[in-house]
Amino acid sequence: MANIAYSQRSSTFKRVAVYITGRLVMMFATVVIGVFLTILIANMGGYVDEIQRGIIREDVSQAANQNLSLRSLTSEERMHWVNEQIILREKQLGLDKPFMVRAVKFMKDALTLNLGRAQRMTSDKGSQMVRDIILERLPPTLILFGISGLLLFVVEIWIALGLSRHYGGFWDKLFVFLAPASTSPAWFYGIFLILIFAAMLGILPFGGMMDAPVPDNWVDYTLSLLRHMILPLVAVTLSQIFLNTYNWRTFFLIYSNEDYVEMAKAKGLPSRVIEREYIMRPTLPTIITSFALTLIGLWQGFIIMETVFNWPGMGRAYFQAVQFFDVPVIVGMTVINAYMLAITMFILDFIYAILDPRVQVANQGGNQ
């Protein structure tokens, strides 16, 4: 008996290992292709190269005009100097190599998280390393949108459970009625809030993360941070809470109508137990997926929010990178996003398998 159990376990282990390897390879291939496509688009078929060449030419000619030691040279000699400088700079940026060669090298570096140097952007501390720029901009985004994402998620589910308990009640009807309000994005609510609370009433700041002289003690620092966070938080809340709560509520309603829930009710189990064991438990995989995807989707949606609220985070940095044609920064951020997405999906597969006994890891292979 023990032997059979053991062999079964070992074969399960083997199948799981094969499955995991397959998924990993698939995920990695997905990330590679995704990143490569981003590099292609970020270069627009050599268009960005032309822009960069133009910028270099302008920079160098300007430097030549200002360089006093070049005044004595003849115009031909000066042209020669300018051309040499241009070639040198282009080599520095790798513009002398054909695009495909660069793209492949670029991708290799990106995938190994060797993100390289930004072409025009710098971090506030003055570093040109893409890694420093991203690391510097990450905390503001995490503080604001991490907190709002987490809080909203918990609150939404909590409200939704309450609503599904009192189906058809006043609050339920209110949320159903307000659900269409969530089709407007957060920045849209943002401009209204700025208009009302910053421009008309003047009680909250227009944007930014800190008061102009940065407070030196941590109490004032935190208070200033919180004051600047109110409007973006409210905007995000307004744009999400109604629709998400409505969706969760509908979702819970479907599950609370299953036969086994009726059965539990008939048994006279307390409603808390029914909620936890009979409604939440089978919906947990969906809840977790949605939570993970919310977290990843954060920085995409907040490009505009951060621009509108002047919040010094990743989203605004990304937009600045696009405006500066700073391909390394664009690719760096995309790579990190792609990795996060892939890793999350991978972890999700596991959580699914653990939480949902119906998912049979081994037999299904790569197909969901």
């Binding site: 698939m26 291939a29 997905t30 990330v31 292709i33 995704g34 496509l37 981003t38 688009i41 970020a42 627009m44 268009y47 960005v48 189906y167 159903v176 009625f177 659900a179 269409p180 309000a181 089709t183 407007s184 994005p185 920045w187 849209f188 401009i191 209204f192 700025i194 208009l195 910053a198 421009a199 008309m200 227009f206 509908t250 309603l253 479907i254 109508n257 995409q300 949606g301 490009i303 505009i304 621009t307 509108v308 990304y318 937009f319 696009v322 405006q323 044609f325 664009i330 951020m333 995309t334 996003n337 792609a338 997405l341 892939a342 969901q368």
Partner: protein, 444 residues
């Protein structure tokens, strides 16, 4: 069908949203018929020649309805306007005197920003000569200035140094329009009149004038920093937003559905390929890619529309649709179709996909505002279409020119209200349709 409409009547939100949508469609039709596409582009690009009659950043006229303190409304009067008279007295030697009398009513509590007279004249050698007088409601005749005319000439009262010195007031308009009996500067209300006597010294020489007053209000929508009338953008923004939202929603929803059906029907490598492409597409960040396309490639709204559709076809919806199709595929009626040798394409297009339409239509309607907002979002980041007037571009202009700091709320609120109407109308309709088409939830 009758049943369907009967059902509709039970949902007041459907009626409300249908009213809003017909309003939007009405505005679109009005915009397209009164201002042709090319004309809209020309107006929106237009500079001083088109919009000289408007002041900069003037609030809309209806502000006066809500305020006791009536602000001056801008206007322009030509000789063709009723009330404006032109008398020509010709002498025998060919010289003539043309007297323009331009009366206007001034019933406002604030002073105008500027009063201008645009002269246009024709002559060969001898310049015509003009003499300008303002007659106030209390009968004072104030001689403003006289000068020789060139072909096109603008006389701006506020920039007339002679007048400034003579009135001993830097603010010429305030000095001219104030009530002399009252200590604090208050405008004298009543009918004013500008009388221009123009003298021509040649037989074929002509003179024409236009009186333009810049108040602090203009038009029913107000103006922006380039004197452009915002009504052009509000009107034309409607068909653009509707077209963008509708095309994007239709393009993505139906293509996605067909692709999912093909994958579910054929299975095998085709299905695998579709699955993998979807996964890759999910890794690609949508909005950041759109930003790149907008910045590097083209900001044209039609390019952005194409990119939006392409990037959304292989979205998460493929997975959900496919799962449903896999179930439908096993239904007996599909089996029957297979038995009588229906072609694959026929089965996919005629038997499989129609089953999904009831769930897709509410989704499609709800998606429309999402796409309208994508266009607006890009415009707010400064990546709006360079030629066409859109709501998002107006919001962006307002933000860039610091409208909220200056208290120019109308500038942001007007396009925002249009966006709200659009999003609410379609979202409400979509949600209600979902409850009508998929009544499973109603019984709970």
């Amino acid at each position: 069908m009758n049943n369907f409409f009967h059902e509709l009547r039970k949902y007041p939100s459907v009626i409300a949203s249908l009213i809003l949508i017909s309003f939007l469609i009405g505005v679109s039709i009005y915009a397209i018929t009164t201002i042709p596409y090319e004309e809209a582009k020309r107006l929106w690009r237009g500079g001083e020649e088109i919009w000289y009659t408007n002041p900069r950043q003037a609030a809309p006229e209806w502000i006066n309805w809500f305020s006791k303190n009536k602000q001056a409304v801008s206007f322009s009067l030509r000789t063709t306007n009723p009330g404006v008279s032109r008398t020509i007295l010709t002498e025998e030697n060919g010289n003539s005197e043309i007297i323009f009398s331009i009366p206007f009513d001034y019933q406002y509590d604030s002073f105008p920003q500027e009063l201008m007279i645009y002269f246009s004249s024709t002559f060969t050698a001898k310049q015509p000569y003009a003499d300008v007088t303002l007659i106030t409601p209390d009968g004072r005749e104030i001689h403003l200035n006289n000068f020789a005319l060139i072909n096109r000439q603008t006389y701006r009262l506020s920039q007339d140094d002679r007048l400034t010195r003579w009135l001993r007031n830097d603010n010429v308009l305030q000095a001219l329009f104030r009530d002399p009996q009252v200590e604090t500067p208050t405008p004298l209300k009543g009918s004013y009149s500008v009388v221009i006597s123009a003298y021509t010294f040649e037989a074929n020489s002509t003179v024409d004038v236009e009186l333009v007053m810049h108040g602090t209000l203009a038009g029913w929508a107000g103006t922006d920093h380039l004197r452009r009338d915002l009504s052009v953008a509000l009107l034309w923004g409607t068909p653009i937003a509707l077209a963008f939202g509708l095309l994007a929603a239709l393009g993505t929803t139906f293509t996605t559905m067909v692709i999912a059906a093909i994958g579910a029907w054929y299975r095998g490598w085709l299905d695998e390929l579709i699955q993998r492409v979807t996964e890759i597409n999910l890794v690609l960040p949508f909005l950041p890619l759109l930003l790149m396309i907008g910045t590097f490639h083209s900001r044209s709204i039609w390019v952005i529309l194409g990119a939006t559709i392409l990037l959304n076809i292989f979205g998460g919806a493929i997975k959900t649709n496919r799962a449903i199709f896999l179930q439908i595929k096993e239904s007996p009626y599909i089996e029957a179709a297979r038995v009588y040798n229906a072609s694959d394409i026929r089965i996919i297009l005629r038997y499989l996909t129609p089953r999904l339409i009831p769930t897709l239509i509410p989704q499609l309607v709800t998606l429309i505002p999402t796409y309208v907002f994508i266009e607006a979002s890009l415009a707010v980041l400064g990546l709006g279409d360079p030629e066409l007037p859109t709501w998002g571009k107006v919001i962006n202009d307002a933000f860039v020119n610091s409208a909220p700091y200056q208290g120019l709320y109308y500038w942001m609120l007007e396009p925002a209200v249009m966006l709200i109407i659009t999003s609410l109308a379609f979202a409400m309709l979509g949600f209600s349709l979902d409850r009508i088409f998929n009544p499973r939830l109603r019984q709970i």
